[in-house]
């Protein structure tokens, strides 16, 4: 288990490899479909993003409403491929890490190699458990988007798996191959 803290610098990113189990702590930001669309619209107009993406990590999530007294509601990952169209641009602007679930396309993986990006997988459908790792939550932009608003989260020991590393290795491919190979060899 690797303890990791944000901001995620190039140096830290390069130590991570597909399959590594990570406990992430520090500040991260949320954004999913509608927020990403607005990010690129802002960039196209030459306006600043709601947060400086340099060495930051974005979590693709749309939480359930927090119950009274709770920091946040259930908050597991959403499927990442819908953000593929925007991810290379975000990395070009300095974003280093992405948290989600599901496959990324070749353009995203190429951008990850170019900018030392890391794609982490959170376990899909474990939103109630993940909520206990979120220590603070503040909406910083696009409040009108409801669950899709951009939030600044402070997380503690958020359990993640490195799915695609900055060298282009993809656990969805290698993990499956290793499992099938192990089976074929009778392990």
């Amino acid at each position: 288990m690797i303890k990791l803290e944000t901001p995620l610098t190039v140096e830290k990113a390069k130590t991570l490899h597909a399959g590594d189990q990570v406990l992430l702590s520090g500040v991260i930001y949320t954004g999913r479909d509608a927020a990403h669309k607005r990010f690129v619209e802002l960039v196209a107009k030459g306006e600043p993003l709601p947060f400086d993406p340099q060495d930051q990590v974005i979590y693709y999530v749309g939480p359930t409403p927090a119950k009274p007294g709770a920091v946040i509601g259930s908050c597991g990952p959403t499927t990442s491929y819908r953000m593929d169209a925007y991810a290379p641009k975000m990395m070009e602007l300095g974003l280093r890490g992405m948290i989600g679930k599901g496959r990324r396309n070749d353009e995203v993986k190429a951008a990850m190699r170019q900018y030392a990006g890391v794609y982490f997988g959170a376990i899909g459908g474990a939103g109630a458990l993940i909520a206990s790792c979120i220590k603070s939550c503040e909406i910083i932009a696009f409040e009108d988007l409801g669950t899709e608003a951009v939030r600044k989260l402070t997380v503690e020991d958020l359990p993640l798996t490195v799915v695609v590393d900055s060298y282009g290795e993809d656990l969805y491919i290698s993990g499956r191959e290793d499992y099938l190979k192990g089976k074929a060899n009778g392990n």
Partner: protein, 280 residues
């Protein structure tokens, strides 16, 4: 005629929406525990343990199992001797509205798919399908569906000559295309026959069957078994990190069809396979 008040329906739907988003159905939970035993990969076992723990936390704290509390899909079986004293569809939508608000569930519906994707802020409209059946009861199946898995469902208008082999190939292809995206382990529902529209509904109903149930027809039952084994030999595994448990169940429903066709639909649900029946 048996009279049922709309208020009764509203309350039943609201309660069911909250309940099913926080409490994983017993059959799915049990299957998850069995899968932990059967699993032969360490990372997969760990992932399944996390899913079990998550389901426990959700049930104990009445928090949503998953943040995607879905589009509210409601399957209605209404006895032809039932009279509802008002607008049934409106009552169902009102129940969804109240349940999603009271239960702190996520509102995930936009009013227009393309031109104006604005959140309706109360998770309505629900997707309602009606069957009229004999009797004087009203059966409501509440099945919120997340779109991580919904986006992975497929329909194919196959040719009769594609035969059983064609259906097998199609099922495996849909699971391959889906890969890690629909939060495996998944529950698979297959519909074969009928028409373009009815086959998709059939697949959905197959997906909602008890995970331990079997098709009463031995030919389809054997196909269910064979295809579940084949899917679980693909190696995708829990969360897609590699492992045995790619699917918890595979159910098939079938219906007569036209001489020129063999429609086939494959519906995929994640491990958060939510469905709750209420009989009024």
């Amino acid at each position: 005629m048996r009279e049922i008040a709309v208020e009764t329906i509203i309350d039943a739907i609201a309660d069911a929406c909250i309940d099913i988003n926080c409490k994983l159905p017993g059959d799915v939970y049990q299957r998850l525990i069995e899968a932990i035993e059967e699993e032969d990969s360490a990372i997969a076992k760990h992932t399944l343990d996390v899913l079990k723990e998550n389901a426990d936390i959700a049930r104990e704290t009445m928090s949503p199992i998953c943040q995607d509390t879905g589009m509210a899909c409601i399957f209605v079986e209404i006895g032809q001797e039932v009279h509802v004293n008002g607008n049934l569809s409106a009552a169902i939508n009102e129940g969804v509205r109240r349940g999603y608000e009271k239960g702190y569930l996520r509102k995930s519906v936009v009013s227009d798919p393309m031109f104006n994707r604005v959140n309706t802020k109360d998770n309505t409209p629900a997707i309602i399908s009606y069957d009229i059946v004999p009797g004087d009861q009203l059966k409501l199946t509440v099945a919120p569906k997340g779109f991580g898995s919904e986006n992975m469902c497929q329909v194919k208008m196959m040719k009769p000559s594609d035969g059983v082999e064609g259906v097998k190939k199609f099922i495996l292809q849909v699971v391959e295309d889906a890969g890690p995206n629909p939060c495996p382990p998944i529950v698979i529902g297959v519909g074969i026959g009928g028409t373009f529209d009815s086959v998709a509904l059939m697949a959905k109903k197959a997906m909602l069957r008890d995970v331990n149930s079997e098709n009463p027809d031995p030919r389809y039952r054997d196909l269910e078994k064979e295809m579940l084994e084949k899917v679980n030999a693909m190696g995708i595994g829990p969360a897609g990190f590699g492992g045995r448990t790619t699917a918890l169940a595979l159910n098939i429903e079938w219906a007569p069809t036209h001489i020129a066709g063999m429609p086939c639909a494959v519906a995929i649900c994640c491990h958060v396979s939510r469905h709750k029946e209420v009989v009024l």
